[in-house]
Structures are given as C-alpha cells and as structure tokens.
Symmetry: C2
Subunit: 431 residues, 2 copies
C-alpha cells in the first residue's frame, strides 16, 4: 500500500486512478455469445453450459427435489442468519415506498404521480468462487416488494449441474420460482432476447465478472435497462486517531479480498496512523484464505495523508467511493460533508460487511466513480414513476390561455390548437 | 393513417413498429466531433459554430446586455404565461421531495437514506426550428430544486450569434446563469469532457436531434450519466364514442407536428369512430403551418380497432407510449390498467399539450418503448439517494453473528473478520 503525502489537487485524478479494463478484447468474446443466444435460444444455452460450466444439463431448471433438498442440506444456523438479514432488508426497503402523490396545482388541474412496478425483471447471481446468496436477498426482496410480475433469476450451474443450495434456498424463501441454470454473458443474452425457457425482461440487475458487465452494457442497445454501470468493488476508510487501527485494517482487507482489481483507500491525517494500519494489515493478511487476491488488490491501493479535514472531504468526494467508512472524532461534520458515495458506514462499530449482508441497506452500489451520478439499487430501481393529469372544463379555462401562448411562441400551432378547439367548444356550450 | 382491424397479438410487434434509425452513419459524424472537442476545447467550439451555426462568435457566453434585452424583447403575455407554468411545475416537482428516511431496523442498528443533489448537471436546449423555452423550465426547475451546485445550459446560437430571447429569459427567471452558446453533438462533447468555458458535468439532460442523441449515448462511455435513451416523440390516444373526434384529431396532430419521425396511434373500438377522427385530421391538417411534417408523421401512424377493452389495454401496455390520452367512458378502469406509459392524460379536457407546457408534470418522458423500464424526468433525476448505517456496540452484538455466518458461507473470511475482531474487542472490554 503506497503512502501519498498530501497530494496536490491537480494530481488526484492520476494518483487515485482506478484500474483500466480492456473492453475491446472482452467485447470480442461477448458479442458472438449474444448473437448465438439470440439466434439459437435454449440450444445455445445448453451448448454454453458444456463449454463454460463443463456440464451437460438435462434441463435448464432445477427440479422440485433439487429445491427441496437445498433447504435440507443447509446448516440451520445459516438459514436463520439469512432470515434475519431478510427481515432487515425487507423492513428498510419497504420503508422506501413512495406514496402516491396527488396535487391540484390549480383549480381543476390535478396532477398525480404513482410508482408502478417494472413488469419483467432479471436477476443475475454469479456462481464462481463464492455463492452470492446475499445478492439474491438484495435484488429479490425489492423486486418482490415492488410487485414485479415476472422475476427471473439466472445463475450458473456447478460441474454437477446444480445451483448452490444457499442460492436456491434464499430464492425460494423470498418467493422467486423462476430459476434458470445459466451463467455469464449467455445469461444476460437470454434475458435480453428471450429463449424458449428464459423470458425476455425489461431490466437486468446483478453483479458479475467483466464478461457479464460487458454483456449488460451491450444489452442496453436492445431496449433492456440495467441497474447501473459496473466496476470492481472498492472501499475508502476515513479515519483519525480516534479509530482502531485493527478495525480499519480488517475493513480494508474485507474489500481487498473481493478481487485482484478491487481498490481500497485509507485517508488519514498522520503517517503514524497510516503505518499502524499497514502493520495490522500485514498481520491479519496472513490468516486470510484469500490472501493472494487481497495482496494483489493492495498493490492498487493507497494510504493518503491529508493534513486538512476539509480538503480530505474534498478528496473523498472527488474519488466518490462505493463504500465509505467514517471513523473520525468529528463524525457528524464529516458525514454531512459527503456528497459522492454509494453507502456510508459511520463509527468504529459499523464494518462495511454489515451493509454487505444484513443491516438493511442494499449492497448493490455504484462503483468506479459512478457514485457521482448514480444511486445504489433500492425499491426505486424496480418501479417506474408514471405521471397523470386530469383537467376539468373549468381547469382548462384556467390553464388553457397559458398553454396557447407558450405553444404559439414555440411555433407549435398544433399544440395550441388542441387547447383552442376545446375552449371554443366550452364557450359555445356556455352560450 | 392506416387502419388495423383487431390485429393478432403475435403481429403487434411488427404492426406497431417504430421508425428505425441509421445509428452507424450518425456515429460516423458524431465521433470525430467528440474527439475534436476533447482535444481542442473552446477552439473546437468556435470552429463548429462557424461550420454548423454559420456564425463567428466573439464569446461563447451571452453578454449582460443580451440577457437584459431578452426580457425587454419579450411579449409581456408570454412572460406571464411562462411564470404561470413555472409556478405549476415548481409546485408539482417540489412535492416530489423524498424526506430523509431513518429506521432503527434492530436495536442499535440505524439505517438512513438521504437525497443528495448530483453536483454538476448539463441541460441541453435545442435551437433549430422551435425555441424550446418550455424545456428550460422542465429541466431547470428540478435542477434548481434539487440543489445541484453547477447547472450549465447549452443551446445553439442563431445566425446572428444570439440565443432566442425566450430561452434566455426563462433561464434567468429560474436562476440559471451559466449559459453557453453551443449546440449539437459539440455541446454534449463539451459537457462530457469539459473545455476552458464549459465545465465537465456528472449528468446530461435534454432532447435533441439524432446527432445529439448519439452523442449522449457515446458520452455514457466516459462516465457521464444521461437522463434517458431518446427517440422521437409519440402519443397514443385511447378513445371510445364518449370522446370528441375533433379533440382526438387535434391531439394526434399536436404530436404529429413534432417531427417527420413522430408516431401517433389511435386505439378505438369501432371503424366508424376511427374514420370520423381521420376525417377531422384531414380538415384540421390544412390549417397547420407544420402540415408537411405532420403529414409525413401520419404516414408512420396507425388507427387500431380493438373489440375487447381488456385486450386494448394489453396492446397499449405492449406499445408503452410516451404520452397516453384516455378518453373513454370507463375511464378509471382504463387508467388503473396502465402499467407502461410515460405520462397519462385523462378525460376529454386534458390535451397532451397541457403536460408539454404547464400542468406541472414533466414533459421529458421515455419514448420508443422505454416507458417499460424508465421513468420520465423528475426531481429524482437530479439526486442520488445515499444510504448510511450506524451500529452501536450493542447493535453489533445483535447483528454480528448473522454477518459472520453469512460471510463464512460465501467464503469471504475477510468480511467475517471485520465483525469478529470488533466482537472480540467488545467481549474483552466487558471482562
């Protein structure tokens, strides 16, 4: 972990640069996959399962028995933990419901706004090194709460052709029944174009490797929406001497273990504290099963010394971290100064992993600087807000002349006429 | 306007297809523009003003005098109309504010969600055939209400090097002071990369021709967000015998006059009513200054006869119109069955132009079928919703074991350790 000592503002961009990806090469692999799924449907999915998951599937769906035995196979303590997390996530996402807005802006002119579920959504749950059942909770719970009519969950099968029991159990627990054994770019393609088994959806959610990310980006060209642009996970910890160096080290490592391209940043005042944290990282690292991954991620990472608290906050907002941990004496002041971050973790006893699993907030958050212009996934991500207006004859008399003058001055006579013809009709009636 | 008689469901996609665009050819023109602005900054903008706007600019900014004389040049009746519209739009968008959400999901585990303004936004206001000062209201008002720190408005100069006085007046009225004389793809490029005069922004809003649309799409590759994917404007009118054929004709024409690629659809039960509307269209068309445009748009348009009201609603949701006018006897039933639409206009006295200008709803809406998965512009479009969590030592004792078990089962020991190390510390303290 390199230490930067009060870097000049014009060097921030370079010094805090995130890893760059070779999108061209990845697209060269992803585009033919999309094309094949579009053309050959399920047949292509079975073929890709052989090629990438090394398994010959009988069916793209898990059997009843597979789902039932998933629950039986799981440690009761894990099931209970998943239920606790579910309750918290459900509670905090239910609280995000936007009540219907009705407002009579002028006598006889009523405007309304209502949340309406996106009808068909697709959730992608990676398999790979870790069975991300927590992501099933984070995407599935708001989808169910929003009232999406069709919820499809795609996840790759293992070499035995099965989906991890914790993923099946969690999906079943929250009421998602359409589970498809397909992973990677081919899963995104299936949900984009539809196949015999996989419905075409309106919006695709979920994390994934660079192939999944590239496929989601390409999917947007075919009318599908996606949750957000993706990049590797990241955390920035802002800590002063009131923080516990061991806790800070553990938090930085919890992010570094995600992947070799993860980035972790420490912002602090003194070199002394930075060195203390680095020492604790070295100690803790040795006990981590994923230490090789974490070591590589730490090579991309920085400890930034900032003398001035205001400038420190400026740098943090410039970086716009996905996860921001704030462990400083003047906590409120720092928290209130945040304007670019995905999710904020406050104080010495709020590890980032709390939000990853169970505090109730969503863990699908904008990375790679997108916290400047994107929100994390929330109940909002699964609805559209449709507006309505209803104008009475009285109301049209009130607002009509305003519309007529504006339309005329935008040289849109047809727009004006839609009002004029109605006002004339009303005037005739009055006579 | 072609009449379709109860088209079979599997033909809807083909029969209601929207116009297709040659994006490749447009991108060939747009990409070098982006590259040149990125490389040469303001110098490129001055050059493009010569090339595309046919004017040699002294400055990219309107002078104080230009802004002052804009207000003087304007008809007082127009100024008053703009003020009425402003009041309604402001009122309905202010009502969209999301209060801060704070919830103690478990004892000692507090989650929070807060709306925070996107810091820098760019608004694009087309010049061209019509001076769209109404779009200044629709984008500027929520940007100001959200509290965006920097609001840049770009609009092309006319041949005298001026911006239309109604655009200047409206921008000034709502408090937007950063106005830049630049249009087309070069304006989008300037806001994406930043130049000496134009700040780089986080999110770009606004309508435009195919070059602007293509430039916005490309801009997203450089970390900028955009309001939504764009397409030509469209309206679908759902009417029965209780509707007034002249009103329906006027509404269809008000949309058809937008552009040759606009699409208007009538859905109704009987051929008799459809023919009545078509007759009224032919009559009204003759008096429209933009009748040549409207005629071409009508060639893309359809009257669809649907015997069955439920299937009619299914077809409407399938089409997912930007604007949906509902003028039927069983109005509530129809309105409640809508799940894919940008904005809905209810009853015989609610012309679509009301929403375009002054009812209070936003006129920046998802077209081209994107009403399936996108909302129109609203106050939400100018904020991010950041989540926060704060856990007390007591709270971590409550939720910690849940996190530990889940992290362990996702094979993320580092995530688990961030909790374990804190719980151990707390247990030691208690002894």
């Amino acid at each position: 972990m390199k230490i930067l000592d009060n870097p000049a503002k014009d060097s921030w961009k370079k010094q805090l640069a995130r890893p760059v990806f070779k999108t061209k090469e990845i697209n060269k692999i992803v585009k033919p996959i999309l094309r094949k799924v579009k053309r050959n449907g399920d047949k292509a999915l079975f073929k890709f399962a052989m090629e990438y998951d090394h398994v010959e599937l009988d069916s793209l769906f898990p059997s009843e028995i597979e789902i039932q035995s998933a629950s039986e196979a799981l440690d009761p303590a894990l099931k209970e933990a998943i239920q606790v997390a579910k309750a918290n996530i459900e509670r905090f996402h239910k609280a995000q419901e936007t009540p219907e807005l009705v407002d009579e802006v002028m006598p006889g002119v009523v405007c309304k706004r209502k949340s309406v579920a996106i009808q068909k959504v697709g959730l992608y749950i990676p398999g790979g090194t870790a069975p991300l059942f927590s992501t099933v909770l984070m995407l599935g719970i708001p989808a169910v709460l929003a009232g999406c009519k069709e919820i499809v969950l795609c996840s790759p099968p293992n070499k035995e052709g099965k989906i991890h029991p914790a993923i099946l159990y969690t999906a079943n627990l929250i009421g998602i029944s359409k589970i498809v054994k397909v992973g990677g770019a081919q899963a995104i393609a299936a949900m984009t174009f539809g196949t015999e088994s996989v419905p075409k959806v309106d919006k695709i959610f979920g994390p994934g490797n660079q192939f999944v990310t590239a496929a989601k980006q390409t999917a947007t060209k075919y009318g599908v929406a996606i949750d957000m642009p993706a990049g590797p996970s990241e955390v920035l910890v802002y800590a002063d001497a009131s923080a516990n160096a061991s806790f800070v080290a553990a938090d930085l490592l919890s992010q570094a273990e995600h992947g070799v391209d993860s980035q972790v940043i420490l912002v602090t005042e003194t070199e002394k504290f930075a060195k203390k944290v680095i020492k604790k990282i070295d100690e803790q690292l040795e006990n981590l099963p994923r230490k090789d991954i974490a070591k590589k991620a730490l090579a991309n990472s920085r400890a930034v010394l900032m003398d001035n608290a205001e400038e420190a906050m400026e740098l943090i907002n410039f970086y716009a971290p996905e996860h921001l941990i704030i462990s400083v004496e003047e906590e409120d002041k720092a928290v209130n100064a945040v304007y670019n971050a995905g999710s904020v973790f406050i104080g010495n006893f709020t590890p980032e992993s709390a939000g990853d699993y169970a505090s109730g907030t969503n863990h699908t958050l904008p990375t790679y600087g997108y916290a400047r212009n994107y929100s994390g996934v929330s109940l909002d991500s699964f609805v559209k807000k449709i507006t309505y207006q209803k104008i009475t004859p009285e109301g049209l008399k009130n607002i009509g002349p305003t519309i007529e003058i504006m339309a005329e001055n935008e040289l849109l006579e047809g727009h004006k006429n839609a009002v004029t013809i109605r006002l004339k009709h009303l005037n005739k009636q009055n006579k």
